[in-house]
Amino acid sequence: MIELALILISAIFVNNFVLARFLGICPFLGVSKKVETALGMGMAVTFVMTVAAVVTWFIQYFILIPFNIEYLQTIAFILVIASLVQLVEMVIQKVSPVLYQSLGIFLPLITTNCAVLGLAVLNIQKGYSFLESIVFAIGAALGFTLAMVLFAGLRERLDLCPVPKSFRGTAIALVTAGLLSLAFMGFAGLVKG
């Protein structure tokens, strides 16, 4: 049980996917202008990550390894992730057209989001059990959402600030992201992971 808790905490704070492992930077910068959109993106990624972790784990241990075709890992995982994203896209378009519009191009981009594929591959590399990989996926997704929402909050406030002209736009966003990452480095050493 403590093992699982450590995996969760580690994935959220210490080895935060965005801020410590720099995976999934593109939606992190792309859809973080508003807290609501960031949260929506976080939810979508959370769903995709968790289900992808489950499905890829089964594929790895019940198809790829028994048939000795581990070399197909990347394409098999991408296939699964892409189908999941497609599903999420359909659901969001039906349930919340507004969110669908504000996510825009970044929704299909979850397909090639390195955070999602990275999670699936890391699960296998670290040799996690089924339960562990689910916990790791939830932790990673929560960490991603946390980073997104924190960053979106910062950017919303930045909009109201007199930012020097040469810093405006992407420059100040990247500087802010760096400072946020710096803050998360404070968790380093909390859990070995």
């Binding site: 790829l64 075709i69 359909m90 659901v91 039906k94 519009q101």
Partner: protein, 282 residues
């Protein structure tokens, strides 16, 4: 080899089946006409039609059996295109432009106090009814210029808002944003306007503004049909806008301006060239 083909194919097949089922369950009914209408719209999301954004307007157009509102920025051209797509009878629109009814910039109108607060007309108006002695004039803090979705409003060096007759689409956002109601929507073909918004009496106006309307009646005497004086302020009767010429010439404070002859002093806009009706000499 065969294992690879079968397993990868199997994964793909099951994913395809699942997605196929999901596509049916989560199908979104969309009218292709809605997309077509949306594409013809200017895409400014200005809200002048009264619907939330251009997509809201497109949805209204498609769901109804007639056009319930016009798209002011789109004008006649867009309304005809939409009518074509939907098979409605086209409705005619009178193109309008917004006009700032004031020429009293900081060089011409006196100030009550020096305002150093937030650069926003609404905020300034709250502070002792604004920094200008004139109760109706443009305060020049640029609230309208910032809200204009088309970049049609410029602020001159001496803090006066001037609206380009070519860029303005008549959406009316600036009209709603101005705390002093200085801006007014007027017919596009009427180029002559009384650029003053103060109902004070002439003697008082002379004390704080050199270019305000003093209600001297001279314009009305020279062109009786084209002007009315209401509450110490002259106004152009836009139905007779072709007869305003003599009033413009005789106005002692030069507060009546024919935009065909140029914009107020300090504006960088070139005098409008497009389709200006000739002035009738009375």
């Amino acid at each position: 080899m065969i294992a690879a083909v079968i397993s990868l194919g199997g994964i793909g097949l099951s994913a395809a089946v699942a997605l196929g089922l999901a596509a049916k369950k989560f199908a979104v009914e969309s009218d292709p006409r809605e997309l077509a209408v949306l594409e013809t719209l200017p895409g400014a999301n200005c809200g002048a039609c009264g619907y939330p954004g251009c997509s809201g307007y497109a949805k209204m157009v498609v769901s109804g059996d007639k056009l319930a509102a016009v798209c002011p920025p789109g004008g006649q051209e867009v309304m005809e295109k939409i009518a074509n797509i939907m098979g409605f009878a086209p409705i005619t629109t009178d193109p309008q432009v917004a006009v700032v009814r004031c020429q009293g910039d900081n060089a011409k109108a006196k100030l009550k106090y020096t305002y150093i607060g937030v650069t926003d007309c609404v905020a300034a108006q709250k502070l002792a009814d604004g920094p200008k002695l004139c109760p109706g004039g443009c305060m020049g803090l640029g609230t309208c210029a910032r809200i204009c979705p088309f970049g049609a409003i410029e602020m001159t060096q001496e803090n006066l808002a001037v609206i380009s007759r070519e860029k303005c689409t008549g959406c009316g956002k600036c009209v709603a944003s101005c705390p002093r109601q200085v801006i007014e929507l007027t017919p596009l073909d009427a180029t002559t306007h009384v650029l003053c918004n103060s109902h004070d009496k002439g003697a008082l106006i002379r004390k704080y503004c050199e270019i305000g309307c003093i209600a001297c009646q001279i314009c009305k005497k020279n062109a009786p049909d084209a002007y009315v004086i209401e509450d110490f302020l002259a106004r152009v009767v836009y139905e007779h806008h072709l007869e305003t010429g003599p009033g413009v010439e005789k106005c002692p404070t030069k507060c009546i301006r024919d935009f065909a002859g140029g914009y107020p002093q300090g504006s960088s806009f070139a005098p409008p060239t497009c389709a200006m009706p000739p002035q009738k000499v009375a």
